[in-house]
């Protein structure tokens, strides 16, 4: 059974358009049906829970109702931050009193039988991973990648229930299946600075520069990530970092779905590679062309 409700979230239609493009391309190639949730609203991201936790729960709860209305019980969410918000609300629904309040705010019943997974988990399921391995036509030989999970895929472990919070391995395994070499580096689950990108840019420049420096020290050619916020902080601001005197980086940052797409032989434009701010096609050019068509 390979059909999922699909919640792209605001960024996959916007600043993370590559993630959206590559997700759809890859899922199509692997026979995974994505049914986009109709008329979904923003999950509230980092702002709703800061202002009012009921608002955060209410916004997610509406989306959960809409997701269930697709007829499917399994929901997949590519964006790590949206995923975290959904999981927090799902956890809160476990308490009857809180659940009643959430349903009141959301204006109706909220389904309790949804399974909510990050896209990384779905593509790494044993069955699909085996299918992926068999379908690889252009192994990412010679690429050294630093797998970057960010904060919200694995933390807090009781809510996310996805991989180890200190040394997760799911993305590592996936990248190896694609034929790449995975480097060991300290920034695996370190924070990029997240939503302070606009309001306190210097913090993001500091933290993201540190991540790029660690990746370079570990010998990585590029960083592979699963979070639109992380990607935008790492990819969009390398120029700003240089101007602020924080290192001189030119490290490409890929969404893991882009890398999956490359390995499956899908073209760069279909995957959105050209839309990165840090030039990202040249490195992929080093990967030998596909062995099978």
């Amino acid at each position: 059974m390979n059909a999922y409700s699909y919640y792209p979230g605001c960024s996959l239609h916007g600043t993370a358009v590559e993630y959206g493009l590559s997700t759809e391309a890859v899922c199509q190639a692997l026979g995974v049906e994505l049914r986009e949730v109709d008329d979904w609203n923003c999950c509230g991201a980092s702002s709703a829970h800061v202002a009012n936790r009921w608002l955060a729960h209410g916004l997610v709860a509406r989306n959960m109702r809409l997701a269930r209305a697709t007829g499917l019980r399994d929901l997949v969410i590519p964006c790590a931050a949206c995923f975290a918000r959904f999981k927090e609300t799902q956890a809160a629904l476990a308490d009857p009193e809180t659940a009643a309040a959430i349903e009141e705010v959301a204006g109706g019943a909220v389904p309790r039988d949804l399974t909510i997974d990050p896209l990384l988990a779905i593509l790494s399921e044993p069955g699909l991973l085996a299918k992926l391995q068999a379908a690889v036509v252009r192994p990412l030989a010679g690429l050294k990648l630093a797998p970057y999970y960010g904060c919200l895929l694995t933390r807090p472990p009781e809510v996310a229930r996805f991989d180890d919070p200190e040394d997760p391995q799911t993305l590592d395994r996936l990248l190896r299946v694609l034929g790449a070499e995975v480097v060991s580096w300290p920034g695996k689950t370190a924070c990029c600075g997240s939503s302070l990108a606009l309001s306190r840019t210097e913090v993001v420049l500091d933290l993201s520069h540190q991540l790029l420096a660690w990746a370079e020290e570990a010998g990585a050619d590029a960083i592979a990530t699963a979070c639109p916020m992380c990607h935008s902080n790492l990819d969009m601001r390398q120029g700003q970092m240089r101007r602020a005197g924080k290192g001189d980086h030119a490290l490409p940052v890929y969404y893991f779905t882009e890398l999956v797409g490359v390995a499956l032989g899908i073209g760069n434009s279909e995957l959105g590679i050209s839309r990165h701010l840090v030039e990202a096609a040249a490195l992929l050019g080093r990967v030998p062309a596909g062995t099978r068509s």
Binding site: D164, P165, E166, D167, S184, P186, E217
Partner: protein, 716 residues
């Protein structure tokens, strides 16, 4: 005609503050059977007890009711008091006016009325008290000590020196326990082996101590003075009776890469091995899991059986391993042994013996960062802890005991403190405290007590090894409560220059050859980063592997962490709730060597006190079966928590239940359950209990104020 005396105690203001004791005494005077009633401030004191004894003589009392505290407090006291005055001690009842009355009520008239009711009940009971006599049982004056660490060694020596026989059972091949792995001990910096090995030699040479290593307790039955214990002597494959410890076998053993438990995984040993040079017995054993000869024999037997060969044909079969290659028969140690001590066909042996007392000194284990200490979880459910420290990923992140092995001259690096990764001497060492202790999240909210001190010790010793080393200790609190302990930790900082940072570590990562330790100093209130060559984790104390299983075999009480519960935390620290079983050392919670040795000697004193008696007295307030009424339905046997019931043939051939008076604890469950009312619980028989109930409901209630209407449970 019964003559009851009632003595109402004020217990200072504990009772007297809430209950009008004089009024209770006057009410008691009117009760049937009571010929004397008085009140006094402290009945348990010398004058109080003398008062009771004087009145017994003056009024010819033959039953006494002491209206005071709980029998759990002073039943033995007052039994002795009345016995000394010639009244049968089982004709003394205690009416609990404290825990059951004054300590749970605030209203004086209500409490006083209730006190009168309670006294009335106990008077009714006392009128029907039997003149019971304690039973007697034999007492075997042999001690079993479980565990051969410093606690077990000390207890064994003390009792043996008192002249009694001791059997010391240790499940590993040598005694010495964790203390044998230590290099130096705090706060004196004594060399651990130097103070321990003489005691170990004393044990093996003592004429009254029988040492059994590689042995475990299999089953325990019985009761104080009469424990029938089955011990399992595990196969050692070396006959210690003929082995002379020459060392040829382990010198020539071709299997040289077995991870050494004694060296905490930092070194290797052979398959036939001596755990450490000063091991006692100083004779090797064979680790069957890694011995090629034993593997050969087992494979040979298995494959011969599969092929249906005869025993003679089996000996000629060359077995193959899982990879299809022929297995090597080895047997080198057997061929070279000059005393023919190698026994590849050795098997476990069971032996059952009787002991009068048991000291449980089974020790502790350490919190393992890979989660392997989580015995209650299935192996596949165990998960690693504290991934942020990188233990297991970074070779130079080690535990404190691993560092101890490195520092020790008999250790894997001959006492050179070097990094496991490259063998270089570290310049900067970071210690992280409270790993697996004081942490709700990992299920260990308690403090492990010894880590602050041993960390300071290790920081001091590192400087002794290398004056250029810089030590950094990340701590939450400094627990150094013993004599000269705080001075010791100050010494580490002031004289030996250890840098103490009050904060925690968030991440350890590799940077080239070194590591960056990211942490926080809470006193300055700023994050800190230290470049280190070696990181040492002070992992906490957990109960020893298999503790829960052992405690259950012994029927002793333990807590949620697997540590033994003492009978009373303050006043009975080395006894368990099971008579005849004592405790010593870390099996009952984390503690240092001085406290462990103190407990061991204390337990030994208790054992000597027990063994000094000619026999065991058994309580008569136990259950008894009236055989003529018993139909042997077995309900009593099913419900008895102590296994006290057996079935005995009566005249005429039918069976009837019989209760072992030495095992029965008088809990009364059998008596309550017996369908035919064939069981009497002496001291609490049916007539007594019914009399108490009748007393409660027959008595008029002059002192109770008008009852309030009870509140409705559901609001209208």
């Amino acid at each position: 005609m019964a003559r009851v005396g009632v003595f109402v105690c004020h217990c200072g203001s504990n009772i007297g503050g809430t209950v009008d004791c004089a009024a209770v005494a006057s009410a008691a005077r009117e009760m049937p059977g009571v010929v004397h009633a008085s009140d006094y401030k402290y009945m348990c004191s010398e004058p109080g007890q003398r008062l009771i004894q004087d009145k017994i003589a003056a009024e010819q009392l033959d039953r006494v009711v002491v209206a005071s505290c709980s029998p759990r407090m002073h039943e033995p006291t007052f039994r002795r008091t009345v016995a000394a005055a010639g009244v049968n001690p089982y004709r003394m009842e205690m009416a609990n006016l404290r825990e059951h009355c004054s300590w749970v009520h605030g209203d004086k008239p209500v409490a006083t009325a209730k006190a009168v009711e309670i006294v009335g009940m106990l008077v009714a009971k006392a009128l029907r008290d039997e003149a019971l006599r304690p039973g007697r049982a034999e007492l075997s004056k042999r001690l079993l000590v479980i565990g051969g660490g410093i606690a077990g060694i000390q207890a064994a020596l003390d009792v043996a020196n008192a002249g009694y026989e001791v059997t010391l059972v240790e499940r590993t091949p040598t005694i010495g326990g964790k203390m044998a792995m230590l290099d130096k001990t705090f706060p004196t910096l004594d060399c651990s082996a130097c103070i321990l090995t003489p005691l170990m030699v004393d044990v093996v040479q003592h004429p009254k101590i029988r040492l059994m290593t590689s042995a475990e307790v299999e089953e325990v039955h019985g009761f104080v003075g009469n424990f029938d214990v089955t011990l399992r002597q595990k196969a050692r494959y070396v006959d210690h009776a003929v082995c002379n410890g020459c060392g040829t076998c382990w010198g020539k053993c071709p299997v040289k890469d077995v991870v050494s438990e004694f060296d905490q995984g930092m070194g290797a040993r052979t398959a036939v091995y001596l755990p450490f040079p000063q091991a006692i017995p100083n004779k090797p054993v064979i680790d069957a899991a890694h011995c090629r000869s034993i593997a050969y024999r087992e494979a040979q037997a298995r494959q011969a059986a599969e092929q249906g060969l005869s025993p003679e044909q089996a000996t000629k079969l060359r077995p193959v391993g899982p990879d299809g290659k022929k297995l090597p028969p080895c047997g080198i140690c057997e061929k070279l042994c000059t005393t023919k001590a190698i026994r590849f066909d050795d098997e476990d042996a069971l032996v059952t013996e009787r002991f009068g007392a048991i000291v449980v000194a089974s020790g502790y284990d350490l919190f393992m960062l890979d989660g392997s200490h989580d015995e209650q979880l299935a192996p596949e459910e165990r998960k690693p802890y504290y991934g942020e420290y990188g233990y297991g990923r970074h070779p130079d992140v080690i535990t404190a005991l691993q560092l101890e092995r490195l520092m020790n001259a008999s250790g894997p690096t001959k006492g050179e403190v070097v990094r496991p990764s490259d063998g270089k001497h570290p310049r900067a060492v970071v210690f992280i405290a409270c790993v697996g202790s004081r942490d709700e999240k990992v299920g260990r909210p308690y403090c492990s007590k010894i880590c602050c001190m041993y960390t300071a010790k290790q920081a001091i010793m590192l400087r002794e090894h290398d004056p250029r080393v810089e030590s950094y200790v990340f701590y939450m609190d400094l627990r150094a409560g013993g004599r000269s302990y705080d001075e010791f930790t100050r010494r580490a900082q002031e004289v030996y220059g250890a840098h103490y940072l009050r904060g925690r570590v968030s991440r350890v990562y590799r940077k080239g050859e070194r590591y960056v330790v990211q942490g926080y100093d809470g006193l300055l209130g700023r994050p800190v980063e230290i470049e280190a060559d070696l990181v040492v984790l002070a992992n906490g104390v957990t109960s020893a592997r298999g503790s829960v299983e052992l405690m259950q075999k012994l029927s002793i009480s333990y807590d949620g962490y697997g540590f033994i519960n003492e009978a009373h935390v303050k006043l009975r620290p080395v006894e368990t709730n099971t008579a005849g079983i004592y405790l010593a050392g870390c099996a009952a919670g984390p503690k240092d060597i001085p406290d462990t040795v103190s407990q061991a000697s204390a337990a030994a004193a208790k054992v000597a006190g027990l063994f000094a008696r000619p026999f065991i007295e058994t309580e008569p307030t136990i259950a008894e079966v009236l055989a003529q009424r018993c139909v042997a339905c077995h309900l009593c046997d099913e419900v008895c928590p102590y296994g006290a019931v057996t079935f005995v043939e009566q005249k005429g051939g039918r069976l009837a239940a019989q209760i072992n008076p030495a095992v029965c604890k008088g809990c009364g469950v059998c008596a309550a359950g017996c369908r035919g009312r064939a069981i009497v619980l002496h001291g609490f028989n049916d007539q007594q209990l019914l009399a108490e109930v009748e007393s409660l409901f027959a008595r008029p209630l002059p002192l109770r104020p008008a009852r309030r209407q009870p509140e409705p449970l559901i609001a209208e």
